[in-house]
Protein backbone atom coordinates (compact mmCIF):
# COMPACT_ATOMS: atom_id res chain seq x y z
CA UNK A 1 0.00 0.00 0.00
CA UNK A 2 2.74 2.43 1.04
CA UNK A 3 4.85 1.40 -1.98
CA UNK A 4 1.90 2.07 -4.28
CA UNK A 5 1.41 5.53 -2.74
CA UNK A 6 5.12 6.31 -3.22
CA UNK A 7 4.88 5.21 -6.85
CA UNK A 8 1.89 7.48 -7.43
CA UNK A 9 3.64 10.38 -5.71
CA UNK A 10 6.72 9.92 -7.93
CA UNK A 11 4.55 9.66 -11.04
CA UNK A 12 2.76 12.88 -10.11
CA UNK A 13 5.91 15.00 -10.13
CA UNK A 14 7.25 17.19 -12.93
CA UNK A 15 5.67 19.11 -15.75
CA UNK A 16 2.19 17.79 -16.49
CA UNK A 17 2.69 17.60 -20.28
CA UNK A 18 6.08 15.87 -20.11
CA UNK A 19 4.71 12.28 -20.45
CA UNK A 20 2.55 13.40 -23.40
CA UNK A 21 5.43 14.99 -25.30
CA UNK A 22 7.98 12.30 -24.35
CA UNK A 23 5.49 9.60 -25.35
CA UNK A 24 4.98 11.25 -28.72
CA UNK A 25 8.70 11.72 -29.41
CA UNK A 26 9.77 8.24 -28.23
CA UNK A 27 7.17 5.42 -28.19
CA UNK A 28 6.60 4.20 -24.62
CA UNK A 29 8.67 6.98 -23.01
CA UNK A 30 5.59 8.60 -21.45
CA UNK A 31 4.78 5.39 -19.60
CA UNK A 32 8.43 4.88 -18.61
CA UNK A 33 8.44 8.36 -17.02
CA UNK A 34 5.41 7.31 -14.98
CA UNK A 35 7.18 4.08 -13.98
CA UNK A 36 4.76 1.90 -15.91
CA UNK A 37 7.62 -0.26 -17.16
CA UNK A 38 5.61 -3.20 -18.49
CA UNK A 39 3.05 -1.09 -20.34
CA UNK A 40 5.79 1.15 -21.73
CA UNK A 41 7.84 -1.80 -22.97
CA UNK A 42 4.85 -3.40 -24.70
CA UNK A 43 3.84 -0.10 -26.31
CA UNK A 44 7.42 0.59 -27.44
CA UNK A 45 7.82 -2.93 -28.85
CA UNK A 46 4.48 -2.73 -30.70
CA UNK A 47 4.94 0.72 -32.20
CA UNK A 48 8.64 0.40 -33.06
CA UNK A 49 7.97 -3.12 -34.41
CA UNK A 50 5.09 -1.93 -36.57
CA UNK A 51 7.10 1.05 -37.83
CA UNK A 52 10.16 -1.10 -38.51
CA UNK A 53 8.13 -3.66 -40.45
CA UNK A 54 6.56 -0.82 -42.44
CA UNK A 55 10.01 0.44 -43.41
CA UNK A 56 11.19 -3.14 -44.14
CA UNK A 57 8.19 -3.56 -46.47
CA UNK A 58 9.43 -0.50 -48.39
CA UNK A 59 6.53 1.60 -47.18
CA UNK A 60 6.33 5.22 -48.24
CA UNK A 61 7.14 8.05 -45.83
CA UNK A 62 4.98 11.06 -46.63
CA UNK A 63 7.04 14.19 -47.15
CA UNK A 64 4.89 16.74 -48.95
CA UNK A 65 1.35 17.99 -48.66
CA UNK A 66 0.13 18.15 -52.27
CA UNK A 67 -3.41 16.88 -51.68
CA UNK A 68 -5.70 16.00 -48.79
CA UNK A 69 -4.71 12.31 -48.74
CA UNK A 70 -1.02 13.23 -48.55
CA UNK A 71 -1.74 15.67 -45.73
CA UNK A 72 -3.59 12.97 -43.79
CA UNK A 73 -0.75 10.51 -44.41
CA UNK A 74 1.80 13.08 -43.24
CA UNK A 75 -0.21 13.74 -40.06
CA UNK A 76 -0.26 10.00 -39.36
CA UNK A 77 3.48 9.68 -40.03
CA UNK A 78 4.27 12.64 -37.76
CA UNK A 79 2.64 10.72 -34.90
CA UNK A 80 5.78 8.54 -34.85
CA UNK A 81 7.78 11.48 -33.46
CA UNK A 82 11.54 11.02 -33.61
CA UNK A 83 11.24 7.73 -35.53
CA UNK A 84 9.78 9.63 -38.48
CA UNK A 85 12.20 12.54 -38.25
CA UNK A 86 15.28 10.29 -38.03
CA UNK A 87 14.00 8.08 -40.86
CA UNK A 88 13.52 11.12 -43.08
CA UNK A 89 17.02 12.34 -42.27
CA UNK A 90 18.47 8.89 -43.07
CA UNK A 91 16.49 8.67 -46.30
CA UNK A 92 14.63 5.52 -45.25
CA UNK A 93 11.29 4.53 -46.78
CA UNK A 94 10.29 4.52 -50.42
CA UNK A 95 9.32 7.60 -52.44
CA UNK A 96 6.88 5.63 -54.59
CA UNK A 97 4.84 2.52 -53.78
CA UNK A 98 5.96 -0.16 -56.27
CA UNK A 99 4.58 -3.43 -54.91
CA UNK A 100 1.56 -4.54 -52.84
CA UNK A 101 3.59 -5.13 -49.69
CA UNK A 102 4.92 -1.57 -49.94
CA UNK A 103 1.32 -0.36 -49.75
CA UNK A 104 0.86 -2.45 -46.59
CA UNK A 105 4.11 -0.98 -45.29
CA UNK A 106 2.81 2.56 -45.85
CA UNK A 107 -0.32 1.73 -43.80
CA UNK A 108 1.80 0.11 -41.06
CA UNK A 109 3.82 3.33 -40.73
CA UNK A 110 0.75 5.59 -40.62
CA UNK A 111 -1.09 3.37 -38.12
CA UNK A 112 2.04 3.10 -35.92
CA UNK A 113 1.97 6.91 -35.74
CA UNK A 114 -1.72 6.98 -34.82
CA UNK A 115 -1.23 4.28 -32.17
CA UNK A 116 1.68 6.29 -30.76
CA UNK A 117 -0.58 9.33 -30.37
CA UNK A 118 -3.15 7.17 -28.53
CA UNK A 119 -0.38 5.85 -26.24
CA UNK A 120 0.95 9.36 -25.57
CA UNK A 121 -2.55 10.57 -24.64
CA UNK A 122 -2.89 7.51 -22.36
CA UNK A 123 0.35 8.53 -20.61
CA UNK A 124 -1.06 12.04 -20.19
CA UNK A 125 -4.27 10.61 -18.69
CA UNK A 126 -2.19 8.56 -16.25
CA UNK A 127 -0.23 11.68 -15.30
CA UNK A 128 -3.34 13.79 -14.68
CA UNK A 129 -5.00 10.98 -12.71
CA UNK A 130 -7.87 10.57 -15.18
CA UNK A 131 -6.74 6.96 -15.55
CA UNK A 132 -5.19 4.69 -12.89
Amino acid sequence: MAIEENKNAAAGQGWIYLPLIAGWLVPGAGHFLLRKWGRGALIAASIVGMYGLGIAMQGKLYAGAHDILEILGLVGDLGNGLLFIVSRLLGLGADQVQVTTADYGTRFIVVAGLLNVIAAVDAHNLRTGRKK
Partner: protein, 59 residues
Protein backbone atom coordinates in the same frame (compact mmCIF):
# COMPACT_ATOMS: atom_id res chain seq x y z
CA UNK B 1 13.33 -6.48 -47.39
CA UNK B 2 10.23 -8.06 -45.89
CA UNK B 3 7.43 -9.37 -48.10
CA UNK B 4 4.74 -11.01 -45.95
CA UNK B 5 1.67 -12.76 -47.33
CA UNK B 6 -1.65 -10.91 -47.08
CA UNK B 7 -2.70 -13.04 -44.10
CA UNK B 8 0.63 -12.57 -42.31
CA UNK B 9 0.30 -8.82 -42.76
CA UNK B 10 -3.22 -8.93 -41.28
CA UNK B 11 -2.05 -10.98 -38.27
CA UNK B 12 0.93 -8.68 -37.60
CA UNK B 13 -1.22 -5.57 -37.93
CA UNK B 14 -3.86 -7.05 -35.59
CA UNK B 15 -1.23 -8.10 -33.04
CA UNK B 16 0.45 -4.71 -32.73
CA UNK B 17 -2.79 -2.70 -32.79
CA UNK B 18 -4.45 -5.02 -30.24
CA UNK B 19 -1.57 -4.68 -27.77
CA UNK B 20 -1.79 -0.86 -27.84
CA UNK B 21 -5.61 -0.87 -27.73
CA UNK B 22 -5.61 -3.27 -24.77
CA UNK B 23 -3.14 -1.19 -22.76
CA UNK B 24 -4.67 2.19 -23.51
CA UNK B 25 -8.39 1.43 -23.41
CA UNK B 26 -8.63 -0.54 -20.15
CA UNK B 27 -7.38 0.07 -16.60
CA UNK B 28 -6.54 -3.26 -14.98
CA UNK B 29 -4.04 -5.78 -16.43
CA UNK B 30 -6.66 -8.54 -16.56
CA UNK B 31 -9.10 -6.37 -18.52
CA UNK B 32 -6.26 -5.18 -20.77
CA UNK B 33 -5.45 -8.77 -21.74
CA UNK B 34 -9.11 -9.62 -22.36
CA UNK B 35 -9.70 -6.50 -24.46
CA UNK B 36 -6.47 -7.07 -26.41
CA UNK B 37 -7.53 -10.63 -27.28
CA UNK B 38 -11.03 -9.39 -28.17
CA UNK B 39 -9.59 -6.75 -30.55
CA UNK B 40 -7.19 -9.27 -32.12
CA UNK B 41 -10.01 -11.75 -32.81
CA UNK B 42 -12.20 -8.99 -34.25
CA UNK B 43 -9.40 -7.67 -36.51
CA UNK B 44 -8.48 -11.07 -37.91
CA UNK B 45 -12.07 -12.36 -37.98
CA UNK B 46 -13.33 -9.29 -39.84
CA UNK B 47 -10.52 -9.61 -42.40
CA UNK B 48 -11.30 -13.31 -43.01
CA UNK B 49 -15.08 -12.74 -43.28
CA UNK B 50 -14.69 -9.75 -45.62
CA UNK B 51 -12.18 -11.67 -47.74
CA UNK B 52 -14.62 -14.55 -48.21
CA UNK B 53 -17.41 -12.07 -48.96
CA UNK B 54 -15.35 -10.37 -51.66
CA UNK B 55 -14.34 -13.77 -53.06
CA UNK B 56 -17.99 -14.84 -53.35
CA UNK B 57 -19.06 -11.51 -54.88
CA UNK B 58 -16.26 -11.67 -57.46
CA UNK B 59 -17.29 -15.16 -58.68
Amino acid sequence: MFHPSHFAAVVLFALFASVVFGITQRETPRRMVHYGIYCFVLFVGAAVVLSWLMFLIAR
